[in-house]
């Protein structure tokens, strides 16, 4: 419980991730950041986009740090506490590098689709060629700069690939509006249909997803 679930050891590539999210969110939006860590993203959104932001963070140390910097954050667990948030309470619900650390990514996505009009989800892509090569040639669970923990101590208990995520969105009736891949420290906007190639080269992926419930 004391460890942050999101991968906050990522430095450079995660900054890109945060800046990209910041660029995607319109000014003044109501935003819920799940797994907000020490509040870097919320702080960025607040200063650059003047959002009305809230955060949920599992680590109490993270929460205390957020509140101390003036952010509205509560201690909570994405798997357990999302049900207490109201329907359509937020314009955007963000899962930045948190999905793969939840017990039930499918339920978490469903809850978020209920709470947020749009979701922004980013995660490490387990089908990246480096990961594939690692497993293929070393025969051991991949450890890369994006996935830097050992299999026995990683917070990432539900890693998935881009294809897996697209498949889950289909199953849940969620529509992918925009897709981005991050690799070699570069952000690239791609068509959702880019498929196999993007699944091979992306170190991380970021999707803007709509829950299609607005008529």
């Amino acid at each position: 419980m004391s460890e942050t679930r999101s991968i906050h050891s990522l430095s450079v590539s995660e900054r890109k991730d945060l800046q990209l999210i910041c660029d995607l969110i319109p000014s003044g939006a109501r935003v819920l950041d799940i797994g907000c860590g020490e509040g870097d993203l919320l702080d960025l959104l607040k200063s650059e986009k003047n959002i009305d932001g809230r955060g949920v963070e599992i680590s109490q140390a993270g929460v205390n740090a957020c509140v101390a910097r003036g952010l509205s954050v509560v201690q909570g667990d994405a798997d357990r506490d999302l049900k207490h948030f109201p329907d359509n309470g937020f314009d955007y619900a963000i899962l930045s590098q948190t999905l793969q650390a939840t017990q039930r990514p499918d339920s978490v996505l469903q809850e978020l689709a209920r709470i947020g009009k749009k979701l922004i989800v980013s995660f490490p892509n387990f089908a990246n060629w480096r990961v594939r090569f690692y497993l293929m040639f070393k025969g051991r669970m991949p450890v890369t700069s994006t996935l830097d923990a050992q299999w026995y101590n990683t917070p990432n208990i539900h890693l998935c690939t881009i294809e897996d995520f697209i498949g889950l969105c289909d199953e849940l009736g969620l529509q992918i509006e925009k897709s981005f891949i991050l690799s070699n420290d570069k952000v690239k906007h791609v068509e959702s249909s880019a498929g196999p190639l993007m699944n091979l080269i992306a170190e991380q992926a970021l999707f803007v997803v709509s829950s299609q419930k607005e008529m």
Binding site: Q60, N64, A68, F85, P86
Partner: protein, 395 residues
């Protein structure tokens, strides 16, 4: 407005000077009865800024009083929240206008059961009407009206003070810009009602209580009130803190006495707590205020739905609890936080790691100060309260 100008700037060591405001109009109580006239005693620190946006109301706990900072002239001891109030501290009189009033039903200057009943010319005793947390808040609201203050930057308090904070947000959402309930709850639990009942029974079992008429008998139920305090005091601490502080250490002796003297340090400590308490607190006030806490249940006014109390609230909340508090445990704060989330309210929630039990909110807890500093700075900024420049503008 005369009274505000008498306030100290807060730059010198803060002195707790109690002021009183006497209201000739009745205070309508939840029970259906009313109090008329009634008095509210209060202290204040700092200055009201030009646009009256920097007021912080402190709500005190069960046995607290208006002397939150400086020195308590009645006990000659430091104010109960000196750790929190002062220059450079979270509640900084150089930046904020800080008010703390004695609750209605109390015994430090506000109207309570020891006050004179105008109908009889004698102390009310048990003729004093039963009061609630809501009534305490109504009395505070009347005081603020009288002072010409129509909104609070923050209302803050621990324990019963936390209850009042939530009641403020429930009763007067439009007046409360932000709310900080610390080690509080939105309802009194069965266990807590049970402890209060033990305390009340101890008082009422004291022969000197005289059915609440002890003033007329020129006595006081000292033993009963001391026992009530001793029992309650245990609930304010934690087993870890008791063990660390006292263990099984013996008091002024090397061996057990094989009798019922205070062999153990913890016994001696509790006896001391009990007997110093009776010097400063009225037994009937203890009955009335514990009852007010027992009756507290915000959700009950909203068909059992706590979230309904905070729907459409613009108030920013910062809920604080402590890991070792078993009287108002973190689960009570989480209950409040969930309701606030469900209501779409703006809420922060921190649980502070401390082994000091419920009383942690009164003690030196750097992590609590740090988070409260951050929260207060943020709400002050959003409200346009900048601190000293405001005060210069006033003079």
């Amino acid at each position: 407005m005369q009274e505000i100008q008498l306030d100290k700037s807060g730059k010198e060591p803060i002195a707790g000077e109690s002021k009183v405001h006497v209201f000739d109009s009745p205070l309508q109580l939840v029970s259906g009865e009313s109090l008329q006239p009634f008095t509210v005693a209060y202290c204040s620190w700092g200055k009201l800024n030009k646009d009256k946006s920097n007021t912080i109301l402190i709500c005190h706990a069960l046995t607290g009083d208006q002397f939150a900072a400086g020195e308590n002239p009645m006990t000659e001891r430091p104010g109960w929240w000196n750790t929190m109030i002062g220059p450079g501290k979270p509640l900084d009189p150089e930046k904020y206008f800080i008010i703390c009033s004695n609750v209605i039903g109390g015994c430090s200057g506000s109207t309570g059961p020891a006050s004179i009943n105008p109908a009889t010319g004698k102390p009310y005793g048990l003729d004093f009407p039963v009061i609630t947390i809501t009534d305490m808040v109504r009395a505070q609201a009347k005081l603020l009206d009288a002072l010409g203050i129509d909104s609070l930057l923050t209302v803050i308090g621990g324990s019963m003070g936390g209850m009042q904070v939530l009641e403020w947000a429930n009763s007067f959402p439009e007046k409360v810009f932000s709310a900080i309930p610390i080690a509080g709850s939105a309802r009194h639990s069965a266990q807590n009602i049970a402890f209060h009942e033990v305390g009340r029974q101890a008082i009422m079992a004291d022969i000197d209580w005289h059915g609440g008429n002890y003033h007329a008998e020129k006595t006081q139920p000292r033993k009963g009130l001391a026992v009530a305090r001793m029992a309650a005091h245990i609930t304010y601490l934690s087993e870890t803190a008791l063990t660390r502080k006292f263990g099984r250490n013996l008091q002024d002796r090397d061996a057990l006495s094989y009798g019922f003297e205070a062999d153990f340090q913890i016994e001696s400590y509790l006896r001391h707590q009990g007997f110093t308490f009776v010097e400063r607190f009225d037994a009937n006030s203890y009955l009335y205020i514990t009852r007010a806490m027992d009756y507290f249940d915000i959700a009950a006014e909203h068909d059992g739905k706590l979230a309904a109390a905070f729907t459409n609230s613009d108030t920013r909340f910062c809920v604080v609890s402590f890991t070792s508090d078993w009287l108002f445990p973190t689960s009570e704060s989480i209950h409040v936080v969930r309701a606030l989330n469900a209501a779409g309210a703006n809420v922060s929630f921190v649980e502070i790691e401390s082994d000091k039990g419920h009383d942690a909110f009164l003690l030196d807890e750097p992590e609590m100060f740090k988070t409260l500093n951050g929260f207060l700075r943020s709400v002050a900024k959003d409200r346009g309260v900048t601190g000293e420049s405001d005060m210069r503008g006033l003079t």
